[in-house]
Each structure stands twice: as C-alpha cells, then as structure tokens.
C-alpha cells in the first residue's frame, strides 16, 4: 500500500477506488491537506480502516471483492466517528438514498469537480469538529 505518513497532524483520509489512475490523482490532490491512505477494493478498504481509523473515507461503489455498499453495511455495525463520502460513476436516486440510510455523509457522482469534492470533505470534518 502506498500510504504517506507525515508527522504533521493532518486528518487521515482513506481513498477506496479500484481505478488506479483515478485513485492516484485523488491522492495527489489530497495529500496537502490529508494524510492519505489508499485501497484498491472493498476488502482492502476495510483492512485499512481497521489499521488507520481514518477520519474520512472517499468511497467508490463499484469495486471488486466487496462493493462500496458492502463496506457501508459493515461499517454501520462498527463504532467509529469516521465520515464517509460516496464517490460513484453511477449514482441514481435509490442508490443515493440507500447510501444515506447506511450512514454515508454525502454522495457525489463522478465526475465531480475538485471544488465539490474538497468542499464536501472539508464540511464533513468541520461539522465533526
């Protein structure tokens, strides 16, 4: 796993995305403000979650092994204060509602602009604070 750890007190962000290139870009953009942890599928995402206890997850829905929905379902049963932002290429009203019910903070359809992504991530943590 390509995790970058810095001594500064940045919040930990878990990027769960199966598209390597997109995940890389997201990591590149987020590394200034967050301590980025990456996962290429749902199963790895859950593992990284356990290890790093991130404050924020950017979660893709369509992933091998375990889908984003399955990840949400698992995390629902866990004790955590993590905010989850769903980032999916195929979002419809019912999926969005399902995600909300499963505890997602916000749903963003791909391709979402950087401003939107950043705004959502910031507001998620601001509310938290």
């Amino acid at each position: 796993m390509n995790s970058r750890q810095r001594p500064v007190c940045k919040p930990i962000l878990l990027i769960a995305e199966d598209n390597d290139m997109l995940r890389q870009s997201l990591a590149d953009l987020c590394e200034e403000d967050y301590q980025v942890v990456e996962a290429a599928d749902g199963k790895l995402a859950l593992e990284q979650f356990q290890i790093h206890q991130p404050a924020l997850i950017l979660l893709d829905l369509n992933m091998p092994h375990l889908s984003g929905i399955d990840v949400l379902k698992t995390l629902q049963h866990e004790e955590h204060r993590c905010r989850i932002i769903v980032h999916s290429g195929h979002l419809d009203a019912s999926t969005e509602q399902k995600c909300s019910e499963l505890g997602a903070y916000r749903c963003l359809g791909k391709p979402a602009s950087w401003e939107k992504l950043l705004g959502a991530m910031r507001s998620a943590l601001e509310q938290d604070a």
């Binding site: 290139m21 889908s67 359809g109 950087w114």
Partner: protein, 595 residues
C-alpha cells in the same frame, strides 16, 4: 415508430376486410340456399295444389259428356220403341214436334229410306219445329251417317263424332257443332226400312262444359279431339280447326308438342304432367270406355276427346313468384341483419387485433428502451470514472507546479483515460447499429468482452466471477456483431438476475467449434450460471414473446424472443440446455470460412 404503426394499421384493416368478406360470402350462400330450397318447395307445393284443382275440369267435363250421351241413348231408345206406334204422318208430326220442343237440344230429325232419300225432316228453329216440304227433301246417300245406319242391326244405335254441321257440302254458318244419333227403325208408312237420324246440338254439351270451366280460376281448360283440334278452345276462334282450313294451325299438337306427345304415350286415362310448356292435367274420353246404364248396343264413332286443364310455364312461374317474393324479402332482411351483425363483429375483431398489434409494438419498444437503459447504466460507470480521472488530473496540473516527470506521467495517464472513453463511445456506436442488417466476419471474444464490459459494474457489485474457456485457433464467426452483442448482453443480464440471492455466484463461459455435416463449422458458446435454472414446464415457453418469470415491471418478456429472432436472422441460433444445476444457454453462429 411510424412505419410499424402503419403495419399494424394494415394488419387490422386487412384482417377485418378478410373476415368481413368471408362472413359476407357465408351469408350470401346461406340466403341463396334458403331461397333455392324455398323456391323448390313452393314449386312442389304449387304443383300438387294445381294437380288437384286442374283435375276438376277433366273429371267433371268427362262426366258431363257421359251424362249427355246417356240422355241421347235414352232418347234414341224412346224413338225406336215409339216408332212402331207412330203409324201415320200426322201422328209422327205430332209426336216429333212435341218431342223436339220439349227437349230443345235436337236440331233436326230425319227419316231416310234404304236408298238414302229423305222421307221426312223436321227442323227445330227458334223454339219451334217446322216440317220441311217434300220438295226440299234431299238424298243423303253419300253421308256417313246413312252408311253407318245401313250397317246397324235393329237393336243398335250409332253415335257420331261431335262435328260441325254441313249443309249442301258447305259448313253451316254460324258454326253449328252437332252430334248425330242414328238408329234403324222397322217398316213405316214411308218405307219398309227406315234410318232415323237425330241431330243433337253440340252447343248444349259445350255450354255445360263452359259452366264447369268457369269454376276454375287458376288454370285454363280446353277440349281437343284425337287429332289435337280444339272442340272447346280458350276462345271460339280456336275451335274446329279440323273442319275449317283457315284454322288448321289451332292445334294442340303443334302448340304444345311436348305435352301432346306425353299424352299420346301414356296408357293412363287421366294424368298430370309437368314440362317446359307448363303443367297439364288431362282425361282422355273415348266413348268405348262408356258403360251404358240401361243396356243396349251403342256403336260410337272413333272420336276421342281430351279434357285438358293447363297452366303455361310462364304463368306457373308467375304464380310461384307471387308467393316467393315476400318470403325472399324476409330472407333479404334477415341477410341484411346478419351482414350488419357480421360487419360489427369483424370490426370488433379488427380493433382487437389492432390493439394487440399496438400492444406488441409498444412492448417491443419498451424492451428496446429497457435494453438501452441497461446499456446506459453500464456505460455511465465506464465513462464517468475515466472522466473523473481526467478532470482531477487537469485540476492537479492547474494547482501545482509539478516536476516535469510527474507532469508527463499525469498527462499521459489522462490521455489514457481519454482513449478509454473514446473506445467506449466507439463500442456504443457499434451497439447502436444492431438494427442494421450487416453481415460480416467478426471476433466472438471481442464482442463477448464488449458485452461483458457493459455489465462489469453488476459483476463487481454483485460479486460474480466469470470463468471463460476459449479454444486455441478459434475461427471468426459470420453474423452481425451488434446483434450478437445485444443477445449476449441479454443472456448475461438474465443470468445475473437469476443468481440474485445465491451465495456463490459464478458464470461459466465455454466456447467450442463444432464441425457440421455440410463440411462447414459453427462456433458454439455455452453460458452457464448457478442460479435455480428453468423449471421443466417453462422451458418450452422460454422463447415465446411476453413470457417472463421476472416480477411485474422488471421484464417485458420479449428479451429472449428477440434474442431468438436476432440469432436466427444471423444464420445462427439460441437454445436452452437442461443441465444438472443452473441454466445453460447455448448460442451458435456459423464459423467464417475466410480465416
């Protein structure tokens, strides 16, 4: 879809017209048959009725004649018996005057000697009897009745034919039909042997016959002799053609040859016949058939009389028609009612058919949209992810001053994502052309992967693994790649739908090349899922339009029927194979010969 709407329009109208025409034919045939049967039964009924009515004249007419002949014979006996007592001329004068006056039907009484010379003659004129002066008495030696009289025995009577009276070798005018009674009397004061000739006025008989004839309304009655000449015609001008040369043509034999011939051929005395000339009933009257009530020997002339009632074919048809027309009217009304009903019925049927056709079109359209929707879902994910990557890469370049190496790497990757999007769009264009009737050689694995890429999001989401086995050196296949991809997409989606709720989900894809007996080969692909499979009783309906096992609103039931048609159009096929577990669909396409 304006074209298909036109098709359904014509389907409805065409079937409506065909149904209506067949119903129309049925109604017409029914009416015609009914009319024909009615006509036949009317003709039979009418014929029977006419027979009983027509026979009246022949039977009663003959009876009248018989009665008259009886009277004649009785009078003749009276004369014969009384003749011995007549004695003197004066006595004869007195007796005959009284006799002729009281009877009123005898025109002449004459007494001839053995040489045929008239000895005495009384004429009955306008109710009175006059004795002809001796100077006017003639010889009747050459007349047939004298000759017949000479031949008679003493107890015999001769009754002549009914004929026109001839005076001095000329037919008497106005015409006077007479019947002569001849008898041989014993010696008188005039001669040792006397021939008595009594002229009976035929008018008496004919008047009586006319009386009988008047009781008949529907038919016409005539009396003809053995040569076919009218003794009593429909009009007096027809009568006596045998004696009057200018009336020679008035002959039944000439006027109704068929009826005449039949009358001659039959041995029956009385009969009814029907032929092209109409209906005729007749009784043949020949005096030899006449039994005498009071004995005695009567010699008759050889005259035969036919008492005939007839109705011409035209008149007969007219009469039947009169009864037929109102019935036919009723039938026609009935037929019209039936036609109206069948028109309504046909229209109803046509509307129903059209509605069905519309419904089918609608469903077909819906299935297309359904298929398009599924494809769009697959596409959205496939396109949106690289787009997100491109967008964020641009954002990175905009925000940061990247080292050259990183910049190149980022842009190269963005370009890769662009190519990915372009490839997907290109693929969608192929898919969009699935309606075109293109036949080409194509790589089945490429088409299969294209279809698979469209459901990749489902495979991922639902955790379905796909195990593929492709043989080495797989030939290309003949067909339409767009259509094949649609079929594959449909089968893959069905498999995923069927496996919903199964814990371990996988798809097996096995491709083989099968040599055919024709020498060519076909490529077969078996798609097996591990869902519940298709129950035996539903397997036969799988490819029927509108058959679906999915819940209401989820499937149109057209997917497999369209898949079936699409594969058939390409010269291939699709079939269901019953296996141990799950469902296996086999599709096949001809292998391309140009490798």
């Amino acid at each position: 879809m304006p074209t298909s709407k036109l098709i359904s329009d014509s389907i409805g109208w065409e079937s409506y017209r065909r149904l209506f025409v067949s119903l129309l034919m049925a109604v017409v045939v029914f009416i015609v048959t009914l009319s024909w049967l009615t006509w036949r039964s009317l003709v039979a009924e009418k014929t029977l009725a006419l027979h009983s009515e027509e026979l009246l004249f022949p039977v009663f007419g003959a009876a009248v004649l018989r009665e008259k002949v009886d009277l004649l014979v009785s009078d003749a006996r009276f004369i014969k018996v009384g003749f011995r007592d007549f004695g003197t001329h004066d006595h004869l004068d007195e007796t005959m005057t009284e006799f002729m006056k009281s009877r009123g039907v005898y025109d002449q009484f004459r007494l001839l000697d053995a040489s045929g010379q008239e000895q005495v003659r009384y004429n009955f004129r306008e109710g009175d009897v006059e004795k002809v002066p001796p100077s006017q008495l003639q010889s009747k030696r050459d007349r047939y009745y004298f000759q017949e009289g000479l031949r008679l025995e003493h107890n015999q009577y001769y009754i002549s034919a009914l004929d026109l009276n001839v005076e001095g070798g000329v037919v008497e005018r106005p015409l006077k039909p007479v019947l002569r009674v001849v008898l041989k009397a014993g010696a008188s004061s005039y001669a040792p042997v006397s021939i008595v000739v009594l002229n009976y006025l035929g008018a008496d008989l004919l008047d009586a016959l006319k009386e009988v004839e008047r009781s008949e309304e529907q038919t016409r009655s005539v009396v003809v002799d053995q040569d076919g000449y009218y003794v009593m015609g429909e009009a007096p001008s027809q009568e006596w053609g045998g004696s009057l040369p200018d009336r020679k043509a008035e002959n039944l034999r000439l006027q109704k040859p068929l009826t005449w011939k039949a009358m001659q051929e039959t041995t029956l005395r009385s009969q009814c016949l029907r032929n092209e000339e109409g209906i005729a009933c007749f009784t043949r009257f020949s005096p030899t058939h006449l039994p005498l009530n009071r004995g005695g020997d009567v010699v008759f002339s050889n005259q035969q009389l036919y008492f005939i009632s007839f109705l011409d074919a035209d008149e007969f048809a007219q009469q039947v028609l009169q009864e037929f027309v109102p019935l036919f009217g009723i039938y026609c009304l009935f037929g019209l009612a039936l036609l109206y009903a069948s028109w309504k019925f046909a229209r109803l049927k046509a509307l129903k058919l059209r509605n069905e056709a519309f419904l089918q079109e609608e469903m077909y359209h819906k299935e297309k949209l359904h298929s398009l929707g599924r494809m769009a879902t697959g596409m959205a994910h496939e396109i949106n992810t690289p787009l997100a990557h491109i967008s964020l890469s641009l954002e990175l370049i905009r925000q940061r001053v990247l080292p050259r190496e990183k910049l190149l790497q980022t842009t190269a990757k963005a370009q890769e994502s662009c190519s990915r999007v372009a490839a997907i769009i290109d693929h969608v264009r192929t898919f969009g052309r699935m309606d075109e009737q293109v036949r080409t050689a194509f790589e089945l694995p490429v088409t299969f992967n294209n279809a698979l890429s469209l459901i990749r999001h489902r495979l991922l989401n639902e955790g379905v693994s796909v195990q593929e086995s492709w043989p080495d050196g797989l030939p290309r296949v003949e067909g339409n790649p767009g259509q094949t991809e649609q079929v594959l997409l449909n089968l893959l989606n069905n498999a995923l739908d069927a496996m919903e709720g199964e814990s371990n989900r996988f798809l097996l894809v096995a491709v083989t090349v099968q040599p055919l007996t024709t020498g060519a080969a076909q490529v077969e692909m078996r798609l097996t899922d591990n869902g519940p499979g298709v129950p035996k009783q539903q397997q036969g309906q799988l490819f029927d339009p509108f058959f679906t096992t999915k819940e209401l609103g989820k499937g149109t039931g057209l997917g497999l029927s369209i898949a079936y048609n699409l594969m058939r159009e390409q010269g291939g096929g699709v079939a269901y194979e019953d296996g141990e577990r799950g469902a296996t669909f086999r599709i096949w396409l001809p292998a391309s010969e140009a490798t």
